[in-house]
């Protein structure tokens, strides 16, 4: 009997379909043409051709964030691979499962400065969870299986697989063997919370008078929002989300006190600052949350639950560290609370909530829309929320529009809010929205963006045409790099150094040139009706260009180097 032999290219495709991959996002080139040829000859895995490799990574990323599956990218060696770097960094910062297959020159040429040779494994080393160099084509299936396993378990993240051309060519063949049930002696991601730590945590919680739950992207990644809701309802405590954690508990839940951090609500930040116990779940005490770490919540006993030990006590010392999968630990905690017959201290709770409501009633920051004046960006988000019933997927770019969306669109469910929180990558929004739309063609998918950000991947309008991806792009057009301008207003004496653009294109015409629909909105009167119109167009991409007030700033905003609750609530006014 002879075993069947396969080329490396065939093995890649076979392995991907064994791993139930539906889409690969990529762009061809010399080193991966054999792989493209293998893709052409099958129909289990569909290739989506983007217009720039960066967009392939963001599209895979958006797809992964919305579905929880691993996003898969394919790029050629050299410039194709380096174009992926920003997207890999973006996924890395937000712990998104992604596998990037990067072509490489043949092994015989590696190190020779061959045409389109770049050491992509070296380039990406600080921004990946792991990477593989393939040097024997028989290893390809198991390398890919391992890459998926590593990318999607524990704290997820991107994995790069480098495929030299001689591993893929038709001349070289080997038998195909794959072990889908991966285990690795050096990597054991399934961690339960230590029972002793769980007991300590439950005790601290049961003794708390001013408890707050601070939850983040870990909840979303672990699909643990149901458990979080149960836990919060058991504790009857306030809960705040990070930018990455929005939707982890419904934005309209009565215990939800808003986002925390730099542009979080005053009440959320005050609640944190005054808490006696902070239950931190799947968060990493990012500097955009803490403000000055020296002044961070001095009176709080901090329970920090995370799968990644490096996140614990990195910036803020945790009094009760719990390393483990956040869903598993929350269940352990609920069981322990049950075992100790926990009931919340109603009297303390009443006082605590009274205080929080007082902050909310007296210091909540809103905005003022005056009839006949320029459209306020916040007003656009509210209109968008109403029209979509709060059920849309919203993929965001980076800037003021991102913060307005986070503040004014209360997300009901996890994975609805897709944004580059850790890296803050302009250009993320459109391709990410496309990835979401591909996964959920029947849902409203919005790309909320700015006049600056949209131009960082605007070429993808062409991809949208090719694959019929009718996302709704809403540009809060303030004719400026608004967030930069805001900092210049607040910190740099109003000197607008390179933060505004005097040569913006007519975005509607750009959209039309690509075969889409463009709608411009200039006045408040037409805002609602034109937005309705945009969302009623079902099979075409609509580019909505909303001219908004360029003077609007995002508030509240941390006062630099202050404590978490030291905030500007409007120009010159502190909370």
């Amino acid at each position: 009997m002879t075993t069947e032999l396969f080329t490396g290219a065939e093995m890649v495709v076979k392995a991907l379909s064994a791993l139930k991959v539906k889409y690969i996002f990529g762009y061809p080139g010399g080193s991966v043409l054999d792989l493209y040829d293998a893709i052409f000859q099958q129909d289990e895995v569909e290739h989506i051709l983007v217009r720039h490799e960066q967009a392939a990574t963001h599209m895979a990323d958006g797809y992964a964030r919305a579905t929880g599956e691993v996003g898969v990218v394919l790029a050629t060696s050299g410039p194709g691979a380096t174009n992926c770097v920003t997207g890999i960094a973006t996924a890395y910062m937000d712990s998104i499962p992604m596998v990037v297959l990067a072509g490489q020159v043949p092994t015989t040429l590696i190190g020779n400065d061959a045409f389109q040779e770049t050491d992509i494994v070296g380039c990406t080393r600080p921004i990946i969870k792991h990477s593989f160099n393939c040097r024997d084509l028989a290893d390809i299936p198991n390398i890919i299986a391992k890459a998926f396993y590593i990318a999607s378990t524990g704290r997820p993240g991107p994995v790069v697989v480098e495929l030299p051309k001689d591993m893929l060519v038709p001349q070289n063949k080997a038998p195909y063997k794959i072990e889908l049930d991966v285990s690795m002696r050096s990597y054991n991601p399934n961690v339960k919370g230590h029972p002793k730590q769980i007991r300590k945590a439950a005790k601290a919680i049961s003794e708390a008078k001013k408890l707050v739950v601070y939850s983040g992207g870990g909840i979303v990644l672990a699909d643990a929002s149901q458990l979080l809701t149960t836990l919060v309802e058991t504790l009857k405590s306030p809960v705040t989300n990070t930018l990455m954690g929005l939707g982890g508990i419904s934005g309209t839940h009565e215990n939800f006190i808003g986002m925390l951090g730099m542009h979080g609500s005053v009440e959320a930040n005050k609640t944190m600052a005054n808490a006696d116990v902070i239950l931190a779940l799947g968060v990493r005490f990012d500097d955009r949350v803490t403000n000055n770490v020296e002044k961070f919540c001095p009176n709080a006993n901090i329970i920090h639950v995370d799968i990644d030990p490096t996140s614990i006590s990195k910036t803020i010392n945790a009094h009760i560290p719990v390393v483990g999968l956040v869903d598993v630990v929350m269940q352990q905690l609920l069981d322990e609370l049950n075992d100790i017959n926990y009931t919340p201290d109603e009297e303390a709770l009443k006082e605590w909530w009274q205080q929080i409501h007082l902050w909310r009633d007296t210091q909540h920051v809103g905005y003022e829309q005056i009839e006949g004046e320029k459209i306020k960006p916040q007003r656009v988000i509210e209109a968008m929320y109403k029209i979509t019933n709060g059920e849309a997927y919203v993929a965001s770019d980076v800037g003021q529009h991102q913060m307005f969306a986070a503040q004014y669109y209360p997300f009901a469910k996890p994975r609805q809010w897709i944004n580059s929180g850790g890296a803050g990558t302009m250009g993320f929004g459109l391709p990410a929205a496309m990835g979401v739309k591909l996964a959920f063609p029947d849902k409203h998918v919005i790309c909320i963006t700015g006049d600056g950000s949209i131009q960082m991947n605007i070429q993808e309008l062409s991809t949208c045409m090719q694959y019929s991806l009718p996302v709704v792009i809403i540009t809060l057009n303030n004719r400026s790099l608004g967030m930069v301008r805001q900092w210049q207003d607040m910190v740099y004496g109003g000197r607008h150094s390179s933060s505004y653009m005097e040569s913006l294109p007519d975005f509607c015409k750009v959209a039309e040139a690509y075969g889409h629909v463009g709608i411009q909105i200039d006045t408040l009167e037409e805002l609602d009706s034109k937005l309705e119109e945009a969302f009623s167009i079902k099979n075409k991409l609509v580019f909505v260009d909303v001219l908004v007030d360029e003077k609007e700033h995002v508030y509240p905003m941390h006062i630099r180097q202050g404590s978490i609750d030291e905030m500007w609530i409007k120009k010159g006014v502190k909370a």
Binding site: G122, R125, K129, H130, S131, S186, P309, T310
Partner: protein, 165 residues
């Protein structure tokens, strides 16, 4: 504080560069680093001497542990351990006096002269870092040092405890 870390990891392409990359990326200090396969050829062992306070050390240990290739890391300096470093040094030995002095000092430090040239002795010495420093200093008072190389320290815990799979 100086710490010595022992790391057991997969003996795979790229594993060392991940460790080195991590240290430079996170601005951790490396005083010395040595690496070689172990008796089990599928594993490598690295010894790193580093400097940092407790908080930095905690991060180093956690970050190294997080690398997918790493199987174990332990700090040797917080327990009883043996620490050794190898020195190879060439010194000028071109007069009777310098030859005798170099020989005498080498004997006192329990080193060995491993090569002799027309004008030069090459000496081998093992010990902990302090001993090597003292040796070099003593030699330099007597003669000229031409070249030296140190291996960086390796270490192992004393007693029953073993670092293995």
């Amino acid at each position: 504080m100086r710490h010595i870390l022992a790391i057991l990891l997969e003996n795979e392409a790229g594993a060392l560069s991940r460790i080195v990359g991590l240290f430079s990326q996170r601005a951790f200090n490396i005083e010395s680093l040595t690496v070689a396969p172990t008796d089990d050829n599928s594993l490598s062992r690295i010894t790193i001497a580093t400097i940092g306070d407790d908080k930095v050390l905690e991060q180093i240990v956690k970050q190294v542990n997080k690398l997918v290739d790493v199987i174990k890391i332990s700090e040797l300096t917080d327990r009883k351990h043996v620490e050794r470093e190898l020195l190879l040094i060439k010194v000028l030995a071109n007069t009777d006096k310098s030859r005798t002095e170099v020989k005498r000092i080498t004997d006192i430090f329990r080193g060995a002269i491993v090569d002799i040239g027309k004008q030069i002795y090459t000496i081998e010495l093992t010990g902990d870092g302090d001993k090597l420093n003292a040796f070099i200093e003593t030699l330099s008072n007597e003669t000229e040092i031409i070249e030296s190389v140190r291996s960086g320290c390796v270490g192992i815990a004393r007693g029953e405890k073993a670092m293995r799979l």
